[in-house]
């Protein structure tokens, strides 16, 4: 059943749209970083040379500071994490709503156990959201690797957002690939959760667009509400963004995983139990 749902997801238009959006974001960041930061740096180097200083003392730009997850200089990092819920929902998030409204669900329920279908649907949607959410990061990493060396960032280079009070700052300056791998896992967890949030929204929404945007509404509303309460460190958008500002108000790595896992578990329970009890099948 899970394989069947995953196949449906891979054949759908949603995944193609998510890939397209991810490619656009990665390409935008790639050119944005090259133009805005690299060229500015080259001009600065030239000015230093004209002033009689050697630019050799300047630390080179690193891949870890140049791809979309570590880029603190262009707008694309912000844009990526703003569109993150849409990316996660696009591949398969609306499928339950479509299944229910097209009558497909009635057919499935006559063939399979309700619980099996709900479990398979949740798993497929979670996995699709997890992968789609991190696609821009992967594309951006692959593109920037063509130009930027994977040199370990140096705090004196003043090209990084991370300082001593940031989460996992030691990792960032000693083992950056592990640092970003952890953030990738966090991104996958959040992507999966946001995609499955659309499943729960399918029970209440009467329009597919509302299902599509419901995770974004939740994500943005939570961000604003927590900012108002002075606790931005608990916002999902802050947690999953390595360029977040959580160094101001601290949160631990365990706390970050725990929070998103709790959200994901809550989304599962809501979807599973309402789905099981619900009788409305067109």
């Amino acid at each position: 059943m899970i394989r069947f749902e995953l196949n449906r997801c891979l054949r759908g238009k949603g995944i193609k749209l998510a890939v397209l959006l991810a490619v656009l974001l990665a390409a935008g960041e790639f050119f944005g970083y090259r133009i805005l930061f690299q060229e500015t740096k080259e001009i600065a180097d030239e000015i230093r040379r004209q002033q009689g200083f050697s630019p050799s003392g300047l630390y080179p730009s690193s891949l870890y500071e140049g791809f979309i997850n570590g880029d603190a200089f262009t707008i694309f990092n912000l844009l990526y994490y703003y569109l993150f819920p849409i990316l996660a929902v696009l591949p398969f998030g609306c499928s339950f709503f479509t299944d229910e409204n097209s009558g497909y669900l009635k057919y499935i329920y006559s063939q399979k156990k309700k619980e099996n279908y709900l479990l398979a649907k949740y798993t497929a949607v979670f996995l699709s959201g997890a992968v789609a959410g991190i696609l821009p990061a992967i594309f951006s990493f692959l593109a920037n690797a063509l130009y930027l060396p994977a040199i370990i960032p140096n705090t004196l280079a003043l090209q990084s957002h991370t300082n001593d009070s940031s989460v996992m700052a030691d990792f960032y300056y000693t083992c950056p690939w592990a640092y970003f791998l952890v953030y990738l896992l966090l991104g996958m967890l959040a992507g999966g959760f946001l995609a499955t949030l659309a499943l729960s929204a399918s029970f209440f929404a009467r329009n597919a667009l509302l299902v599509l945007f419901s995770p974004m509404i939740f994500y943005t509303a939570l961000d604003y509400a927590l900012a108002e309460l002075g606790h931005s460190e608990f916002s999902i958008s802050t947690i999953i963004n390595p360029v977040g500002t959580h160094y101001i108000e601290r949160i631990t790595l365990g706390g970050m995983f725990l929070e998103i896992s709790a959200f994901a578990a809550a989304a599962f329970l809501v979807f599973f139990f309402i789905g099981k009890k619900r009788e409305r099948i067109l």
Partner: protein, 405 residues
């Protein structure tokens, strides 16, 4: 057969792309091994740009103890904020609780006078900081250079903000691995600071510091208001910032430097004079960064200004105005600061003191489309982006403009 060929061809293409991608990545990363990081001991002398550096003392002060030990810098700590706030800057940082002061003996073993470098500091891999120039200047009694054969003890005061450290690290600063950076990429060298001595504040010092930062203790308030933003001043006006008043005395626009009395090529701070003045005294044509010579007239604009500290306390004069044309949407870089270069401690002004400064600007008409030498010119003091300013229409776009001709 056709399908097999198609598939094989696709696989071959994919394989070639993959190999090319990997080759490119290997090439991009081939210099990564160049980076060398060496930690040097602070017990031995280190050679640096013709000088021998010997670390003599490393003391971590409570801020109250620091102010008590070096009363000449107390003026920067009249506010609970920081040097930024005290110097009139709008940037805000939370209070500094600790200061690391490193005393280094610098011996000039070269045959040239050497300027004293400001070394950045790092803590572990995750923290870096530099030194406030004003603080460095005052704590070292305006020491900037060391003559050949001489040696001097120089104090390097590093402000340590709680904001930039993890809670547990900030509460145990003496136990952190601080190092001073003396050279950059690719041969990165640090002097590791070991056995940092702690200097806690005494009760009386804490009481004195509390008094200093209390609202009544702060006497750094300017006696006259700063010139507000969004202001355009006509000829004869004066600009006021942080208790210092600036007035225009003279403005000269010329193409031949021989026509300018008192010209001093050593006063160029941005470019060397050879880049700007040709041998016959004519202002050099504008060159792009790649050295391409551009057509169009070039001028030098010299503006004599009078600066007066109208407050009751010593001030650090920090004014770097841009030159704008009458339409307000174009500016050029400053390149000439005569008085400041002649007297390198010149930015510090005692109460009531007056200073005459010559500012110089290199203007390339092809780029700026100005109508020199008679065009109205303005100095702009905020350094903000004021691209929508228009002096003809009286629109300042948030800037502060003072007409100079």
């Amino acid at each position: 057969m056709k399908i097999f060929l198609k598939k094989s061809l696709s696989m071959l293409c994919l394989f070639i792309i993959l190999v090319a991608y990997i080759a490119r990545i290997v090439w991009v990363n081939h210099n990564n091994e160049l980076t060398k990081i060496n930690y040097l001991s602070d017990n031995e002398s280190v050679n640096f740009n013709g000088c021998l550096l010997s670390v003599k003392e490393k003391t971590l002060y409570d801020i109250a103890a620091f102010v008590a030990e070096y009363p000449q810098i107390a003026k920067y700590y009249r506010y609970a904020g920081s040097v930024y706030e005290a110097s009139g800057d709008e940037q805000w940082l939370p209070g500094i609780e600790h200061e690391l002061v490193v005393k280094i003996n610098i011996k000039n073993i070269s045959d040239k006078t050497v300027g004293i470098p400001i070394f950045p500091i790092i803590c572990g891999n995750t923290y870096n900081n530099s030194i406030q120039p004003e603080l460095f200047s005052d704590i070292n009694s305006n020491l900037y250079e060391i003559a050949p054969g001489k040696n001097m003890d120089v104090l390097f005061p590093y402000e340590l903000h709680r904001l930039n450290f993890r809670e547990e690290n900030y509460n145990n600063l003496a136990g952190q691995k601080f190092s001073i950076s003396i050279s950059g990429y690719p041969d990165i060298r640090y002097i590791a600071l070991t056995d940092v001595k702690e200097r806690k504040a005494k009760k009386q010092e804490i009481a004195d510091y509390q008094k200093l930062i209390s609202p009544k203790g702060g006497t750094n308030t300017p006696i006259i208001e700063d010139t507000p933003r969004n202001t355009i001043m006509e000829l004869g006006g004066s600009y006021i910032k942080n208790g210092c008043k600036l007035e225009i005395e003279d403005c000269t626009v010329l193409r031949n430097i021989k026509n300018y009395k008192g010209y001093d090529p050593s006063a160029f701070t941005f470019h060397s004079s050879k880049d700007i003045i040709l041998d016959d005294g004519i202002v050099a044509p504008y060159k792009d960064l790649d050295g391409t010579v551009q057509k169009g007239e070039t001028y030098l604009v010299f503006i004599k200004v009078k600066c007066t500290n109208v407050s009751e306390v010593t001030k650090n004069l920090s004014i770097y105005p841009y030159l704008f044309n009458g339409a307000g949407n174009d500016y050029c870089e400053s390149c000439y600061e005569k008085t400041w270069e002649e007297n390198r401690a010149g930015r510090k002004m005692d109460a009531g003191e007056t200073r005459h400064i010559t500012l110089g600007y290199y203007v390339a008409l092809r780029l700026n489309k100005w109508k020199l030498p008679d065009a109205p010119l303005y100095l702009e003091f905020t350094g903000m982006n004021v691209e929508n300013a228009d002096m003809v229409k009286g629109k300042a776009d948030g800037g502060i403009f003072l007409q100079v001709q």
